[in-house]
Symmetry: C2
Subunit: 356 residues, 2 copies
DNA sequence: CCTCGTTATCGAATCGATTCGACAACCCAC
DNA sequence: GTGGGTTGTCGAATCGATTCGATAACGAGG
C-alpha cells in the first residue's frame, strides 16, 4: 500500500545519485545557483529528465524554508456574493497582480456568514493573510492567525497593533461628497448604507443598531455625511447589491415631494445604481427631482451613459498595496500602513434640489 | 538571524515534553484520536495552552501526509476579466462550496494571457488542479502538472486520458436553441462567438481561424447551430463581456431589413445582453424585428424585466461536480467524468421573424 | 496465581528537501 | 614551490510533524 497518491515519484536524492553528485549539489542546481559548474548542472538536469523528475517537491521545500508561497485572502461572505461586488473583484485583481509577479498564489478563504472557515485555517499552510472585504474588529479568525504567527494585512480593518492597515479616507471622502450636495442647496438627505454587520438585517438604523456596526468603512461613510449635515436618516441594506439598493431607494423616495429626501447618498455605486432604478421606477427625474450619489468609482457596465456622482477610490492600488504589505511581512519586514487618497467625481446624477 | 518569520514558536515536541508524554501521543491528541485517554488529552491540551501552541504546523503535516489541503483553480485570463463573467463566478462558488465543506482551500491561478503562471505551479504545493475556465487542449501547464503527479479535473476541457472531464452538452443544447429559432421561421441567423482563443482577435471568423479554436465550448456551440442551419456567419468577440457583444451586435444589425439577420445567437448571456443593447441603440424592437438568444441561463441583474431566451446550464452543479471529482482524485480514487444536462428556456427575446 | 485480551502510550523511521560551514582542487603570482 | 584566493562539491543537521508496530499496564477469567 502506497503512502502517497503517486507512489514511485523520484526524489532529489535519486536524481543526485544518478548524476553522481551529492543531494546538496542537486538542490543547488534546481535553485539555479551560480555556484554550480555548468557541466555538473547539465549532468543533474539530464538525470532529472531521465527519471522524469519535475523539480523539488514544493511541500518539502516549504517545510525547510518555512514558507509556502501561498497567501490567503479572507472574503467575509460567500464567494458568490462577494464577486457580485465590483470593488471586491477589483481589489482581488490588484492583489493577484502583485502576488503573481512574485510567484505567490492567492488562496480564497470564504466563510459562510457567521463562522468563517476556521477548519481551513487550521489545516492549510499560509504565509500571510489579507482581510480583503471583512474588516471585523473582533473576527475569531484573527486570533487563530495570531496564535499561528501568520502575519495579517487588513484592508479597511480590522484595526490592531499587529495588523498592517491598508486604508482610505472614507470619512473625509464622504464629507466632501456631502458638502457638494449641501453647496448645491440640499438640506434633506438620506443615506442608503451597506450592511452594518452580516446578519441579514435591513431597514432604518437606530442608535442601538448603530452601536453595533462591524465594518469600519460603513461607519466612516455615515460619519462623513454627519460631519456636514448632522444626524441624517440611515437605511441599512442586507447586502451590497443593486436589488437591495433599489428596494431601499423605493422606501425612501416613495413619498410626497415636500417630505422625501432631495438627495440620496448611497454608500456604494452598486447601491446607487439600485437607487437610480428605484427613482426611474417611481418616475422621478435624476437629478432634477432627486440627486443620487454613490461611492467607489466602480465603472458599472449597466449604468450605461449615466455618469454617477461618486467618490472615486483607487481600488486596484489598494489591492496592490495590500499584496505588497503581505509580501513585506513574509520577508520579515515591518511595513507601514497605507492611507490612499479618494477624490470626488461629479457626474450627471447630482444637481440642485427641486424648487418647491 | 532567525530562520523563520516567527522564531520561537513552540513545536509539538515541546508540548509533549511539557505534558510529560511522547510526541506520538501529543500528535494523536491533536488528531482527536479516540485511543488517547481523556486525562492525557487534557494534560496535553493544557500544556499546549500554556505554551501558546496553536496546533500542528500545517506545512510539516502536509509533508508527512503528502497532502496540503489546497486545490488550484486555473483561470485562463486575468482575474478581473474572469470575474466579470457570471458563469465563472458561479462555477467557482460551486467549487468552494464543496471544498469548504472538506476544509480544503481553493487557490486561484490566474495567468496573464499567454503564459499562465508557471512559476507558481513550480513553487506552490497543490493536491489537485481544476481547469476552471480555460479548456485549452495543449495548455503547457497541463504537462507541468502531469510531471508533478498532480491530478487534474477539466471543466469543459482539456480532453485527455488522465484528466477527469466535467462537461455539458454544448452542441445539443445549442442545436435545440437553433431549432427553436428555425421553427419560429428564421432562416437568416448569425452567431456572436466568445473568443476562439485568447489573442484579442475580433471579427468575422474564416476557415483558418475556425481551425485554430482553442475552447471546446466555443466550437461546440458553433457546431450546434450548424447542425440546424448549416454554415452561418460567425462574429468573434475579443472577450466575453457585454461591451464586446454590443459592438458585435451593432456590426451585425446595422443594415437594411432584408439583409441583416433576423436572429442573433450569442454564445453567452453576457454577449446576448450586449446584442440587446445594440438592438436598442439601433432602434430595433426585440423580438419583433430581431430575435436575440444566449447561453448559460445566468440571471444578469442588468437585464431588468427582459427574459432572455437561452440555454440553461447548471453552472453551480458543474462547480460542485468538479470539486467532488478533485476530492476523489486526491483520495486516490479514479472518478468518472460527468456530463450535465442543459435545457432550453424560451423567454421574451425570441419570436417569429418580421414579415418583409 | 497465571494467562489472555484490551487499552493507552511510546520509539523510531520517514516525508523530501535546504543550507551552512568545511574541504578539496585549482589557478595565479611571487 | 609555497601561500593565498577562488570555485565547485559535499556532509550532516534540520524543518515539524505522522504513523506503525511494539510494549507496558491492567483487569478479568480460569
Amino acid at each position: 500500500m502506497a503512502h502517497h497518491s503517486a507512489p514511485g515519484r523520484p526524489t532529489l536524492a535519486a536524481v543526485a545519485a544518478r548524476a553522481g553528485v551529492s543531494p546538496s549539489t542537486a538542490s543547488l542546481t534546481f535553485a539555479a545557483s551560480p555556484r554550480v559548474a555548468p557541466a555538473t548542472r547539465d549532468r543533474v538536469l539530464a538525470a532529472a529528465a531521465e527519471l522524469g523528475y519535475a523539480g523539488p517537491d514544493p511541500i518539502a521545500a516549504s517545510l525547510r524554508r518555512g514558507r509556502t508561497g501561498v497567501i490567503g485572502a479572507f472574503i467575509g461572505e460567500r464567494l458568490l456574493y462577494a464577486f457580485r461586488d465590483p470593488v471586491a473583484v477589483q481589489l482581488l485583481d490588484g492583489i493577484t497582480e502583485v502576488l503573481g509577479g512574485h510567484g505567490v498564489g492567492l488562496l480564497l478563504l470564504a466563510g459562510d456568514a457567521g463562522r468563517p472557515a476556521a477548519d481551513q485555517l487550521v489545516r492549510i499552510p499560509l504565509d500571510a493573510a489579507i482581510f480583503a472585504t471583512c474588516g471585523l474588529e473582533d473576527d475569531p479568525a484573527l486570533d487563530l492567525l495570531r496564535a499561528r504567527g501568520v502575519p495579517v494585512v487588513g484592508v479597511e480593518g480590522p484595526v490592531a497593533d499587529d495588523v498592517v492597515l491598508i486604508d482610505i479616507d472614507d470619512r473625509a471622502g464622504t464629507a466632501q461628497l456631502a458638502a457638494h450636495l449641501r453647496d448645491l442647496g440640499h438640506r434633506r438627505v438620506a443615506v442608503v448604507a451597506m450592511p452594518l454587520r452580516l446578519d441579514g438585517t435591513r431597514g432604518p438604523v437606530d442608535a442601538a443598531r448603530r452601536a453595533r456596526v462591524h465594518y469600519r468603512d460603513v461607519r466612516h461613510r455615515v460619519e462623513g455625511v454627519e460631519d456636514v449635515f448632522g444626524p441624517v436618516p440611515v437605511l441599512e441594506t442586507a447586502s451590497n447589491v443593486a436589488a437591495e439598493g433599489e428596494s431601499a431607494g423605493r422606501a425612501l423616495l416613495d413619498g410626497p415631494a415636500g417630505v422625501r429626501p432631495t438627495a440620496v447618498i448611497a454608500q456604494s455605486d452598486v447601491l446607487a445604481a439600485g437607487v437610480l432604478q428605484a427613482a426611474a421606477g417611481l418616475g422621478l427625474a435624476v437629478p432634477d427631482e432627486v440627486s443620487v450619489v454613490g461611492f467607489d468609482g466602480a465603472d458599472l457596465p449597466w449604468l450605461g451613459a449615466v455618469q454617477l456622482t461618486t467618490v472615486v477610490q483607487p481600488t486596484d492600488a489598494k489591492g496592490r498595496a495590500a499584496a505588497r504589505a503581505a509580501m513585506a511581512l513574509v520577508a520579515g519586514e515591518r511595513p507601514d500602513g497605507v492611507l490612499l487618497p479618494v477624490t470626488l467625481r461629479v457626474g450627471t446624477t447630482s444637481g440642485p434640489p427641486p424648487v418647491p
